[in-house]
Symmetry: C2
Subunit: 338 residues, 2 copies
C-alpha cells in the first residue's frame, strides 16, 4: 500500500528497545523459555504440536518480559516471577488460539494460524489446556495475591472479547466504548503482567504504580496495532494489512473517520464494515479516508498520550536499570509504526 505513518522519532534505533529489556532479564527469560517448553509437554502429542506452533513462531514475549522486569523493579529476590511470567505467556497464547477461532483468522505472526493447520477444535481445546497449565504454575508459586490478579485478568479479558463481539459491525461505536473494550481485552493482561512481580513483595504502592504503567502501555500497544492494520507492512506485522477492515472491526482510526466524515462517507463505512462489502478496492478507499481525516495520526497521538501516562506511573520508583528498560518499552511500543 505504501502508506507512510507519521510517528515521532524513537529515542534509539527502531526496534532496539526490547533488546535492552531482553538483555536485562536474559537469564530469567531463558528459565521462562525452558519452563514454557516443558509445560506444553503432554502425552497427547497434538498438544505440544499446536502450542509450540504458536509459542515458537517468533512472538516477542513482551508480556513475560514485563513480568520479569517489574519483579526486578520491585527488587523481588525469589524465583516465583519465573513461573508467573510463563503463566502470563500461556494466558496470552490461550487468548490468541481462541481469538483465531473467534475471528476466523487464517494467519498469525506471518504463518498459518493453528486453526488452519489443526482445526478450530484443537485451537479451542489446546487454549483450554494452556489456561489450565497457567493456573497450575500460579498455584505452584503459592501467592494468593498473584493468583487473584491473574485470575481476575482472565475474566476481564474474556469480558472484553465478548464486549467487542457485541459491538462488532456497529459504526456507531463511540471512542469511550472502544476504550472500554481494549482496556479489558488487551490492557488487562499488560496490567496484570506488570503487577504480579511487585505483588509477590506485598508492596501495595509499587504494585499500583506497576499496574498503571502496564494498563496504559497496553492501551498504547493496542492503538498502535490498530493504526498498523491500515498501514503496516505485512512482514512487520505478521498479518495482512486490512485484516481488521475485512473482519468488520471497528477500531479507533475508523471511529475518528466516521465522526469526521460526510454522510456519504458514513454510508461507505456502513456498507463495508457493517454489511461486509470490504474487498481490496474498498480497503484503498478506507485508507484514503483515514488519511484525509488524519485518523491514523490522531490514533498514534492518543497512543503517545497513553505512553506518557505509563511513563509518569513509574515516577514512584527510583532510577534503576529495570526502570530505564521499562521506559524504553514505551518507545518500542509507540514507535512500532515507524
Amino acid at each position: 500500500m505504501g502508506v507512510v505513518i507519521p510517528v515521532e522519532e524513537p529515542r534509539h534505533d527502531g526496534g532496539s528497545e526490547l533488546e535492552a529489556l531482553s538483555a536485562l532479564v536474559a537469564s530469567d527469560l531463558s528459565l521462562v523459555n525452558s519452563l514454557i517448553l516443558s509445560r506444553t509437554g503432554s502425552d497427547v502429542q497434538m498438544i505440544p504440536e499446536v502450542a509450540n506452533h504458536l509459542i515458537e513462531s517468533g512472538g516477542k514475549r513482551l508480556r513475560p518480559l514485563l513480568t520479569l522486569a517489574a519483579a526486578k523493579l520491585a527488587r523481588y529476590p525469589g524465583d516465583g516471577h519465573i513461573r508467573l511470567a510463563a503463566a502470563v505467556e500461556f494466558m496470552h497464547t490461550a487468548t490468541l488460539l481462541h481469538d483465531d477461532v473467534v475471528d476466523e483468522s487464517e494467519m498469525r505472526r506471518g504463518k498459518a494460524s493453528a486453526r488452519m493447520v489443526w482445526g478450530n477444535q484443537a485451537s479451542v481445546l489446546v487454549g483450554d489446556f494452556l489456561l489450565g497449565q497457567a493456573f497450575r504454575m500460579m498455584v505452584e508459586v503459592g501467592s494468593l495475591p498473584g493468583l487473584d490478579i491473574l485470575s481476575t485478568a482472565a475474566t476481564v479479558i474474556a469480558e472484553g472479547e465478548v464486549m467487542q463481539l457485541a459491538a462488532a459491525k456497529n459504526i456507531a461505536t463511540t471512542e469511550d466504548e472502544y476504550l472500554a473494550v481494549i482496556s479489558a481485552k488487551t490492557a488487562a493482561l499488560f496490567a496484570a503482567a506488570c503487577e504480579v512481580g511487585p505483588a509477590l513483595m506485598g508492596a501495595t504502592e509499587e504494585q499500583d504504580a506497576a499496574r498503571s504503567y502496564g494498563a496504559n502501555l497496553g492501551i498504547a500497544f493496542q492503538l498502535v496495532d490498530d493504526a498498523l492494520d491500515y498501514g503496516g507492512r505485512e512482514a512487520k506485522l505478521g498479518k495482512k494489512v486490512g485484516d481488521d477492515f475485512r473482519e468488520g472491526k471497528i477500531t479507533l482510526p475508523v471511529i475518528f473517520a466516521v465522526r469526521r466524515g460526510s454522510p456519504g462517507e458514513r454510508e461507505f463505512w456502513k456498507r463495508t464494515l457493517e454489511q461486509g462489502h470490504a474487498d481490496d478496492s474498498a480497503l484503498e478507499t478506507a485508507i484514503e479516508l483515514l488519511q484525509r481525516h488524519g485518523a491514523i495520526e490522531e490514533t498514534l497521538a492518543r497512543a503517545r498520550h497513553y505512553g506518557a501516562t505509563a511513563c509518569e506511573a513509574l515516577d514512584v520508583f527510583p532510577d534503576s536499570q529495570a526502570k530505564r528498560a521499562l521506559l524504553d518499552v514505551i518507545d518500542f511500543v509507540t514507535a512500532r509504526a515507524h
Copy 2:
C-alpha cells in the same frame, strides 16, 4: 427406537436418588445457586444471557452436589465449599460450551445449544469467562490445595478432550485408550469435585478416598451416557439418540461391537464412523449390531463394576447421612438407563 436397555433394579424408585442428596445439602445448594447467579453477572449483557441459557436449563448440578456432600462427609465446618461447588459447576459449564463448539452440537439438555443461538464465538468466550470466574472463586476461598486440585483437573480435562479428538473416527481405538480418554475428560472433574471438600480439612486419607469415589463414579457416569446414546429416550437425555454415532465418536459400545464383529461388520463401522456415512438407517443397523453382540449390556456391566469400586472407596468413612447419600448417587448414575 424403542430399545430396552437392561439394567439392575435400582434400590429405590428410579430417579429419586439425587433427591436424597439434594435434601441433605439443600441449604448449601441454595447458597451455591445464588452464588452461581451472581457470578454470571457482567456489565456485558451477552455474558449472563449465554451463561444462564445453559446453567438454568435443568442441569442436575450433580458435580457441585458431590462437592457439598463430600465436604459434609469430611465434617468440614466452614463455608469454603460453597464457592468451590460453584467453581466446579462453572468449570463444567465452560467445558460444555466449548464442547458444543468442538462437536458442532445443535442441542444441549433438550434445547438449542448456546452456539446455535449466539454463535460459536460467544460460546468460546463465555466459556473462557466462566473459567476465569471459577478460578476467582477458588482464590477467594484461599485454599492452595483446593486450587491445585481444580487447576490440575482443568488441564487434565482439556488433555482428555484433545485425546478424544485425536482418536476420533478411528475404529481401531482400544478399550484401554478409551478409558484413558474418559478418565480425563469426564472422571477428572468428578474426582476433583469430590476431593476438594476433604482437601479443605487437610485430611489426606479421606481426600484420597473421596477422589477415588469420584473418579470411579465419573467413569460409570460416562459409560452409562455412552450406552444411552444408543437407546435412551430423547426427553430423558436432552440430546438425540445417536448423536455420538452421527459425530463419528468411538465409544465403548462400539469398541465391543467392532471387536466381536465380522469383517463385514467392521466395514460397516468404518464406513459410518470413519467415513461419515452415519444416517438414520445406518443408526438402526448400528443399534442392531450393538444388541447382537451384547455391547450395550456389556458397557452397562462395566459401569456397574466402576460403581462398585466407587462404593468400596467410601469404606474408610463411618456411616453417616452424607455417606448414604453418596452411595445412593451410584445407583442414580448406573440406573439412569432404566
